[in-house]
């Protein structure tokens, strides 16, 4: 299978690899996928409570090159957006940007899921900060 140049670039130079403190109330963590399915993405966002702007985004992904590229791209796109704008990121935009073939569309769907899970985790923490802390941020 031939990969697009953009997928190869993200695979070779993944952006924003790493982890944020999942106990931090300003951090939202999304963990989606399952090892049995061959894809697990952890995507984290750090939000400025004043401005609601995503100041930092990090990811770690177990999955194929397209899954790594999709989540790497997602973190790039998330930085500087508001939480509401983050939810507007659609998997189809990731497919287009990375030129993903049909068999790899699920990778982009997973990245969209990871964004939503991270945002929801952050939002839950604002409602129930203590509970979320105990849950440790696992989606």
């Amino acid at each position: 299978m031939a990969y697009s140049d953009k997928v190869v670039d993200h695979y070779n130079n993944p952006r924003n690899v790493g982890s944020l403190d999942k106990k931090d109330p300003s951090v939202g963590t999304g963990l989606v996928g399952a090892p049995e399915c061959g894809d697990v993405m952890k995507l984290q966002i750090k939000i400025n409570p004043e401005t609601q702007i995503i100041e930092d985004a990090k990811f770690k992904t177990f999955g194929c090159g397209s899954a790594i590229a999709s989540s790497s791209l997602a973190t790039e796109w998330l930085k500087g957006r508001t939480v509401d704008d983050a939810l507007a990121i659609k998997n189809t935009a990731i497919v287009k940007e990375l030129n993903l073939p049909p068999v790899k569309i699920h990778c982009s769907v997973l990245a969209e899921d990871a964004i939503r899970a991270a945002v929801h985790d952050y939002q839950n923490k604002q409602i129930e900060p203590k509970k979320a802390e105990e849950a440790g941020g696992n989606a």
Binding site: V32, V40, K60, T61, C64, V103
Partner: protein, 406 residues
Amino acid sequence: MALKLPIYMDYHATTPCDPRVFEAMRPYFTEIFGNAASRNHQFGWEAEEAVENARKQAAGLIAASPKEIVFTSGATESDNLAIKGVAEMYYERGDHIITAVTEHKAVLDSCKKLEKRGFKVTYLPVGSDGLISPDDVRNAITDKTILLTIMMANNEIGVIQPISEIGKVCKEKGVIFHTDATQAIGKIPFNVNDLNVDLASFSGHKIYGPKGVGGLYVRRKNPRVVLVPIMDGGGHERGMRSGTLNVTGIVGLGKACELAKGEMPTENERVFALREKLRKGIMDEIPDVYVNGHSTERLPGNLNMSFAYVEGESLLMGMNDIAVSSGSACTSASLEPSYVLKALGVGEELAHSSIRFGLGRFNTEEEVDYTIGRVNEAVNRLRELSPLWEMVQEGIDLSKVQWAGE
């Protein structure tokens, strides 16, 4: 000698034609081009002579008589011919066939087709080492069983089945025994009498011969096996496989068999040493790596490993100047991880993390050294990228996590 990239380490998929094989084939494209079935002129006689010489070479590799070799287009056709040919010939004796879950698709899908036509098929399980128990074979045989088809060496995990013992059970019970020996013949010693096999499939391009040619051994004595052909036409190959013979390919297959027979002992020793060097070079450096399949009952050149917490396709991308294959769903057309690994009870997450190295005739020690470095580097890099690896380092038991995708 300078290392040439990319490195080919996928010898179970196919092998390059040995230059000596290619040289043997060369005259048969343009000079000796006759139809081996043309009985009335020089061109035909020469072609026929070449085919009969190749038949002797192929028979010689497996201790058969040349008359017991039927040339086909490859092992897939041989498997189809053996299984469907026996079913159609002997259906009045019984309607039961036995095979195993880890067989090649050419065998499994032939059996499935027969099931649709009313045959009953038993799919034997394998142990966690990938091996079939001869006792399971014995217990599965009924008075309706006409055929048992079990591969000699597995194409993914390289494990070698106890074919001789299984063959003994079949002989005792009067069941025809076919073995898909595509990965075995030419790679490990194969004697049709010692192994008690009645039918054996083999292929040219797995043994440094050309693609598009293979063979089927069909026993002529004790018992004499008769097959109904799946292709009708001019009645070539004693009526079992019609179609003008692929003389050039057959010459190549014959030469490949002759070379395999002569070089097997030294080649196996060399390839085995390379395989072990590769295995140790990886396992000594990287934790949480598992070898899939029996550790010693396997082809000398096969190494199938799972690298926990790293997905197979991404690992292939990280070592893209080395040609290997993966049991990961992402690398297959079906989007399912390897059914062979699943049959061994390898968890799906480890099936997604598997890599098959297939070493062969033209691999060098330098290539193995380079591969060890590349694999270890890619695994370490991908583990730094892996949320699973991070969780395990934090002491989280992955099996207890409630995954969102489940």
